[in-house]
Symmetry: C2
Subunit: 271 residues, 2 copies
Amino acid sequence: MSADNGLLAAVYQGSNVLCDKEHNLSLMKDQIKRASSDKVKLIIFPELFTTGYCLPKGSEDIERLAETQNGPSFQKISQWASEYQIGIIYGYPEKEDKDGSVYYYNSAQFIDKQGSSLSNYRKLHLWPSTDKDFTPGSQLPDVVSYEGVKIAMMICYDAEFPELVRAMVLKGSQLIVVPTADTYISTATIMVRTRALENHVFLAYANHCGRESHIKYAGLSSFINPDGDIIVSAEDKESLLKAVINVDLCTPKRPSYLDNRRPELYASIAV
Amino acid sequence: MSADNGLLAAVYQGSNVLCDKEHNLSLMKDQIKRASSDKVKLIIFPELFTTGYCLPKGSEDIERLAETQNGPSFQKISQWASEYQIGIIYGYPEKEDKDGSVYYYNSAQFIDKQGSSLSNYRKLHLWPSTDKDFTPGSQLPDVVSYEGVKIAMMICYDAEFPELVRAMVLKGSQLIVVPTADTYISTATIMVRTRALENHVFLAYANHCGRESHIKYAGLSSFINPDGDIIVSAEDKESLLKAVINVDLCTPKRPSYLDNRRPELYASIAV
């Protein structure tokens, strides 16, 4: 696989251990090292990967596990990014002290290969039953230029809303990165493929696999090209998936959906 | 198949003959009669079915083939609707004289079982290369109540825009009817399934099959349920597909995408 004409990226799909941050960070370090030795320039981990997704409900548990954006987990991951010269996107539970109150977010952070945070994103569309301990974000994702590719992060359920993906592509995104924790096969097999196709955009879908608490994850992490085709899929096993993101291929084979929209008719979906 | 708890609808997928309206209307009559004898309450024909899709380019040909909304083809089809007590949706090239000018539209008309026009819809998103003789419509589809189901029509490329389908479901549509003339397999296999799933709505996809002019149609007409599953598909052969539209099943299995939207964040897609 040559990355001469693009960004060589990787998605890690594997089982972390619920509430065992030390184990999960160690697993992340192993995969970061492995990806770096494969010349990967960006590695992507699933939603809430540092802690596991099925966090025990109640503020005491969340309080113990959540960290600030630049907390101890960030410090370690940032150091590995710099040491192994690789960008890293990972999901984690974020804690913020603000105006005398504490807020918790389901977040993803993007660290560059120098170890600096390029973007921190707070999930906008919370999954009603299991995300109830979190506060929804209030800001659209950033569009970050990294190694020649314009990238936006969103988290799991976010990507199921065509409005959000469209908004990010209109802002210039060429690659949508989706750390997720999904149990539905149809999300991977039809929905995120449609998101890529209808926007002429690459998409990286990073899911958990195996069982966690009462949940059986769907796996099926993948890279999807701007024609909606799966470039590579992890099926349901532990895997370090790799793909070259060549933005020259965002030029659509079909007529451009972006050019042929009729936004003057869409007002009712934004009120 | 029982229609006790819903609307028994049918899609006809078959090859009409380009520019031979007499033949195509005769074919439509045969299928209307056949569907009626099967107790179907609504039959749906593909895009531009009265004339074929690949109309010769240039105003003289279009002028010869297009009709007003209540022109001779409507008169015949309306009579059959009444005679066979069946609703009919069909695509046709529409001609309108207005303010001293003549306009041509790629339209679909919905006739009730009494033979009255319930709605006439002009395609909003024209396919750039082949729809060039038509004027784009300027009005969102109507939502029509028919036999207990709220129905909106759109045509082909229209349904590939998530914004339009969302707008119609927010207006109350429970069934999206899509007369189409599509050559892409991915539209049927992933895109319109995603439209149904992300809106918790039924969708009827009525395509041509076989060859017409330089085009090989994808077929794959289908009824899709609100979970994004294909209820029944025509593959690539002539077929009268039937399905019961039971709107009680629009209650989503997943959390409601409509309830969990964040429209205050979507302004950029409607300007």
